[in-house]
């Protein structure tokens, strides 16, 4: 079963890769597709002037009917199909891993990343189904997934094993599952955030790489709002998982609810940075681009917690170092 899980994981990465190639093909060929056409419309005013009146573009209306370019469209559809196949394979890898270990597949760093990327991927497919217009950023979503899963397999791979006793707790399930959900959504949130910054630069006349990528993305307003929605959804989840359920469990396990262990420090930092994003976005005099940079910084701190802290700092969290109690 563990073997099967590894194979499914490898195939899933390949499928994401294939989806990525098709998204890229659509990106390249599809400049006259309906999405591309819609995106050429003038960008709406972005920076809220306090009155939200100018800010009420409806997402759906960007999908205007122009003469679709067939080849781009077809690649796009194939990409979405492959993306869904990859998601199912990913689910398979996760499930078989759980069966092999006879527990929830969240016992170590490898499994954690496998799960968080799955959540990200699932949220992405969900958004995609509700708003097909957003398809053009699929290239970057799959790129992020392939990179993370690749890093996971190469750096963090851990053979199937039972949980160390410190992880025998239902708070473990609650704590880890909410953080995985939140991380997955933050991950997907980082993609429209990046695309928004690129698109915004493009709209302001920048044409160098990476701004040249902004040619085909959805409207900047749409990207920005999607960014906010994803973050606003993930933030309370993260608050609950990292700053409430985590401490409750830590109290039962180690006796103190908060002890500034490196993982706790970085969760705190991420939380503060994301709170900063929400503040910045709610402050009219702060530009939306600045706010979005803060959101990306937040994601960087999440990555730091995931890779940096596990690999360099160690600490109480027994994820990356088996054997401890």
């Amino acid at each position: 079963m563990a073997e099967l899980s590894n194979q499914l994981m490898a195939v899933a990465v390949l499928a994401y890769l294939a989806a990525m190639v098709c998204y890229a093909a659509e990106y390249a060929f599809g400049s006259k597709s309906r999405i591309g056409r819609a995106a050429v419309r003038p960008a709406r005013q972005l920076v809220g002037s306090g009155a939200p009146v100018s800010d009420i573009a409806d997402d759906e209306d960007i999908v205007e009917v122009a003469k679709p370019d067939r080849s781009g469209e077809i690649f796009g559809r194939i990409a979405v199909g492959l993306n869904i196949v990859a998601l199912l394979l990913h689910l398979g890898a996760l499930t078989t891993r759980g069966i092999a270990a006879d527990r929830m597949p969240w016992g170590n760093m490898y499994e954690y990343i496998l799960s968080a990327t799955f959540v990200g991927s699932a949220v992405w497919v969900g958004v995609l189904i509700r708003r097909p217009a957003i398809r053009h950023i699929g290239l970057f979503v799959t790129l992020a997934l392939v990179l993370l899963l690749g890093a996971d397999g190469m750096i963090a791979y851990t053979p199937v094993g039972p949980l160390v006793p410190a992880l025998h707790s239902y708070w473990f399930v609650i704590h880890v599952s909410t953080i995985i959900l939140a991380s997955g959504i933050f991950l997907i949130g980082a993609v429209p955030a990046t695309m928004f910054l690129i698109r915004d630069g493009y709209d302001r006349g920048k044409r160098r790489f990476p701004y040249s990528l902004g040619r085909n993305t959805p409207d900047a307003t749409v990207l920005e709002r999607l960014t906010f929605r994803l973050h606003a959804f993930a933030f309370p989840l993260f608050t609950f998982g990292a700053l409430i359920a985590g401490p409750i469990w830590a109290e039962a396990s180690w006796g103190r609810y908060w002890g500034w262990d490196p993982k706790e420090v970085w969760a705190f930092i991420s939380w503060i940075v994301y709170a900063g994003y929400l503040h910045a976005r709610a402050t009219p005099s702060v530009k939306r681009t600045v706010a979005t940079w803060i959101a990306l910084l937040g994601f960087a701190t999440m990555l730091m917690n995931l890779f940096g802290v596990n690999l360099f700092f160690g600490g109480f969290h027994s994820y990356a170092n088996p054997g401890g109690m």
Partner: protein, 530 residues
């Protein structure tokens, strides 16, 4: 988002006098401090200030690592110490950031609380003159009057206000989403509650660590002297510690075939105050909760029982905990016998004849002869010791480690290795005769549990604060403030017996679903169905 960021400037004052200028300066600083921009900067600073604590070892987390850091970076460490680098989260600069942030927070949310309380009591404002200028607007014909429209809105949980004029015109104003601001305020006030809770917990809480070896002779009672290591909050006195005693009667550990631990459990006999002894079992993640203290199982290991018989035939037995150095419980430790080889005639201690034994315990000796254990349970145990004779250096008054011999004494030659370079191997029950005819017996091992004993009086407050904060956060992030108006002009032409209305809608926060909601309201009014 109607965040009033810069409040209106005070009216231009006549040429100011000094106190007045000071006052103005203070007011301006306060205004600066409580602005959202300042809050952003402070949040950012707080995040940055937290980073060093994850890079440098923290005394509160692991004292030992700080010592190691001092050894590895002898010139850098004292500087870091001066800057608070080993106690980042208790350092003045960290505290000043969060105190400023919370001052800003109070300054920011108190006026908002006042405004919100006022808004809650006020009726929704009258319609603006040009409803068709609003983000949503519609003209419609209805068969119903203002009361019915208000009812339709109220059914959707809008607050409403009907304003009727002499000339027969009327407006219905409606507003919804007050919970958003309520939630926001609740969230920020909960942050304050959490901060206060954490602060009081620090002042009035305490904790101590203790290694508790199994056996009735190794019991422990809650008093400061009996802890291996303890920290009392500034407002806690040694006499405040609750009165209880623990004896470890049983300790169990189960392992996978790979040596990974499966589960642990500790069974203790507890007496609290004058109460009877009770038997209680606890484990990792499931502490023993006593009155005024919680006992957490945070580690375990083996204590070695040794009997030394000196040259006068006097025997002494010691049970010494060895500390595990890896996941397979290769354990290191030391047994010191300062009061041996005392000549019964003079009854004087000869400091050149004290004995120390240092070495390793392997619960399972591997077949490859390596010096580390291959399994954490005692499948093939052996003890490897080196004997030292001389002055243990215990009398100097500097508290040394109880897990290692004084390296200084060995360096000066006051404490000498008397058993050769290779450690001597001992199995349980074996005895070892040293060069001077004295004898050491390895009697066996006993398990020990590493306990963290803690008390934090404000834990519940902090938890309640956090839970309320989360609730507030969800209300705030999920809510949408919006206003809707319906207006009939005095000369509204009657078409088919209906009244011609103008309706307008204003979402006060970013709310993509508003257009739909507005359309539904208009439709409901047109159909006259609540």
């Amino acid at each position: 988002m109607t965040v009033v960021e810069e409040r209106p400037a005070p009216p231009a004052a006549p040429p100011p006098k000094l106190p007045r200028r000071l006052w103005a300066l203070l007011r301006n600083s306060w205004r600066q401090l409580t602005s959202m921009r300042t809050a952003l900067v402070l949040l950012f600073l707080l995040a940055v200030a937290a980073i060093p604590g994850s890079i440098f070892p923290q005394r509160a987390v692991n004292e030992q690592k700080v010592t190691q850091y001092y050894q590895a970076h002898p010139s850098l460490a004292p500087w870091l110490e001066r800057l608070g680098g080993f106690e980042v989260y208790g350092s003045p600069w960290f505290a000043s950031i969060y105190l400023l942030l919370f001052t800003s927070l109070v300054g920011c949310v108190l006026p908002r609380l006042r405004d919100h309380a006022r808004a809650l009591r006020q009726a929704p404002p009258d319609a603006p003159r040009r409803l068709d200028r609003l983000p949503e607007s519609a003209d419609l014909t209805v068969e119903i009057g203002p009361k019915d429209i208000a009812r339709i809105l109220r059914r959707r949980r809008f607050r409403t206000k009907i304003r009727e004029q002499e000339d027969g015109s009327w407006t219905v104003s409606a507003e919804k989403g007050y919970l958003k601001e309520t939630g926001n305020l609740l969230f920020h006030f909960s942050l304050l509650a959490v901060l206060i809770g954490v602060g009081f917990g620090h002042w009035y809480g305490w904790h101590g660590d203790r290694i508790l070896v199994a056996g009735a002779d190794q019991g422990f009672c809650d008093s400061l002297a009996q802890y291996d290591d303890s920290t009392l909050g500034p407002r806690v006195d040694a006499a405040d510690l609750p009165d209880f005693c623990l004896k470890l009667t049983d300790f169990r550990a189960a392992y996978q075939a790979t040596g990974q631990p499966k589960n642990f459990s500790a069974t203790v006999a507890v007496t609290e105050g004058d109460g009877p002894a009770k038997t209680r079992t606890f484990t990792v993640n499931d502490p023993l909760r006593l009155h005024g203290a919680n006992v957490h199982l945070i580690g375990h290991g083996y204590a070695i029982s040794l009997r030394y018989t000196d040259r006068y035939g006097v025997s002494q037995t010691k049970v010494v905990p060895f500390l595990p150095i890896d996941g397979m419980f290769t354990s290191e430790g030391v047994a010191q016998f300062p009061d041996v080889n005392i000549d019964p005639k003079t009854n004087r201690r000869d400091s050149t004849l004290q004995m120390g034994f240092e070495g390793r315990y392997l619960p399972t000796v591997g077949t490859d002869g390596s010096a580390t254990s291959t399994f954490p349970a005692e499948n093939a145990p052996a003890l490897f010791l080196t004997a030292y004779r001389g002055d243990l250096g215990l009398d100097v008054g500097t508290p040394g480690s109880v897990y290692a011999l004084d390296q200084g004494q060995i360096a000066t030659g006051d404490l000498k290795n008397v058993s050769g370079a290779r450690p001597h191997e001992l199995k349980v029950g074996e005895s070892w005769t040293l060069d001077d005819g004295t004898k050491l017996e390895f009697l066996g091992t006993r398990p020990y549990a590493t306990l963290a004993i803690r008390y934090d009086p404000t834990q519940t407050l902090v938890l309640a604060g956090a839970a309320l904060g989360l609730l507030g956060l969800m209300l705030s992030l999920g809510g949408h403030r919006r206003r809707v108006w319906f207006r009939a002009l005095p000369a509204s032409p009657e078409s088919d017996g209906g009244t011609l209305l103008t309706a307008g809608g204003l979402p006060r926060t970013d709310y993509p679903g508003f257009a739909d909601e507005f359309a539904q309201l208009v439709k409901a009014a047109e159909e006259g169905t609540p």
